[in-house]
Symmetry: C2
Subunit: 314 residues, 2 copies
């Protein structure tokens, strides 16, 4: 019997699911609300309901990408700032009990799933090693070295947003100052606009979520202040790329996340800055690519987590 | 027959060699001049002479740490800024011909060898993954992930000195500005002293090489300006450690190199800064240790390169 894998991506708003064949073809997709902020029990209910919808598919394993720190071996969700009441929650055990099926469940961090998705089926396809940068509310990421996710000694690797790029810069939620996340993220855009009298006025009616897109529109209408914000955004992104490339000598950097919608407004400056700061050998052959899978990357990556959980390709 | 490995560390001034048994016991040591700046032919002569001295040992393989970029598979020295006339030099082939022996020769970058030495027999002993920071003329390093050297996709990984920590900082030889090497290295100490009227005068008679040690003496004599330079040195080192730990989640960081002689003058500030900037999960269990092997790390690491070249422990 041919194997099928179910991959699930838990977001703050939605849960997205995908079933793929062992050859990687998408056989089905579903989406439901996550209600993650309402707590873990509600989330588990929604998750079980979603999985039930695939009951007829006969999947071999389930992979789940969760916005938090996971202990892969024990299936524990160690912590998840955006899901209420979760500290050391026995995720796979609780879910298996709830769905009452023997299908093996494997969990992974959501950013790592997105990185895996892009690596195997998106912009990173064909590469050996890859760094994924996700520009969303924060500055997230995932690192794939020689075909394997590098998750670190305690599962926390890939916190790319907390590279300091200016020790005296703005304070960061992580405790530091001048982390790249304080310059290159939705949170950063919000701060920069707020501190800019002219832009603050022009964008006074924009909701936080819509702010980057509105700022991008302004820049496309040739507003000089908006263009300058995106230029700086690109320059700082380029600094971050150079730090990663000089440390790891990885030739494929994929940039995704909601803010990558403003791609043409920042990528030129980012490449220019990376070119200046990367050492000769490390930058030879370097490719900085736009993520190709959008919101699909996480669920697809979760399918691969299921596959590798069963001993398939890592 | 029990196996023995010869490890050789090529420095700017000296070549150091060590023979170890398969169990890791040191069986012999030798040192000679490298004359690296006089060019590759002279260096090969010196190297062959040194190896000849071990002819009676019957070593199974030779490992060589070279200050440059190496292509391990082909045994080519791709580039070495401090050895004249070397670009794509067929190192292992030329050396084998010169010594006229069938003993296999393996090459590695010198900083990587030092990292391997500390990892297996020094301050990193017993760790799973380790980051080595070498504070010498520049800010060098090596990365060991899950027991293996991570050398990158083109052999350039571990260029830790070129993490930007201040985009508008002093210009760096690598092309960037404000790389950590411009704040935390012998080159940096030289610049800082030169820009400081009071210290410049106090240390006017110190040679470049001796400057860090002289500055350390001043600080130990409670000179406030000197203390303040070492405090900043430590703070900037802590920023660098936090960048590496947040990206890679590695729990063992080993700091060595000549400037680590001023350990007690900078390590307090370094730990304080790293503590502030590392994320909670990544810093749990983090250990920042002083390198234990001094100048022996490179030759010992080169012995391990020889061992792993023959298919032994990586």
């Amino acid at each position: 019997m041919k194997r099928k894998f179910l991959g699930i991506d838990i977001g703050g708003t939605n849960i997205r699911a995908k079933v793929i064949s062992g050859e990687g073809t998408t056989l089905g997709e579903r989406k439901t609300r996550s209600d993650a902020r309402m707590g873990i029990s509600r989330l588990m209910e929604n998750l079980a309901g979603l999985i039930e919808g695939f009951a007829g598919e006969g999947v071999s394993a389930i992979g789940i990408g969760i916005p938090g720190i996971v202990d892969r071996a024990s299936g524990t969700l160690v912590q998840a700032p955006n899901i209420a009441n979760t500290r050391n929650f026995p995720f796979t055990e609780a879910l298996s009990e709830k769905i009452g099926a023997a299908t093996p469940v494997f969990i992974e961090n959501d950013a790592s799933c997105a990185a895996l998705g892009e690596y195997r089926a998106g912009a990173g396809r064909g590469s050996n090693s890859m760094i994924m940068i996700t520009l969303g509310t924060g500055f997230g990421g995932g690192i794939i070295l020689d075909g394997r996710l590098w998750t670190g000694e305690s599962g926390f690797a890939g916190e790319l947003g907390h590279m300091t790029i200016n020790p005296l810069g703005p304070p960061c939620a992580g405790g530091g100052r001048g982390c790249i996340e304080t310059y290159v993220s939705q949170v950063a855009i919000k701060r920069i606009v707020r501190e800019h009298p002219e832009l603050r006025e022009k964008l006074a009616d924009a909701e936080d979520e819509a702010l980057p897109e509105r700022l991008a529109e302004l820049a496309r209408e040739k507003d000089q202040a908006a263009i300058s914000v995106w230029n700086d955004f690109g320059t700082n992104l380029g600094v971050g790329i150079s730090i990663l490339v000089n440390i790891l000598d990885v030739k494929t950097v994929v940039v995704g996340g909601g803010l990558s919608g403003a791609w043409e407004l920042f990528i030129g400056k980012a490449l220019e800055e990376a070119e200046t700061r990367c050492l000769g050998g490390a930058k030879r052959g370097l490719q900085v690519k736009r993520a190709a899978l959008g919101d699909d990357a996480g669920a697809l990556g979760a399918c691969y987590v299921a596959e590798s959980g069963l001993g398939g390709r890592p």
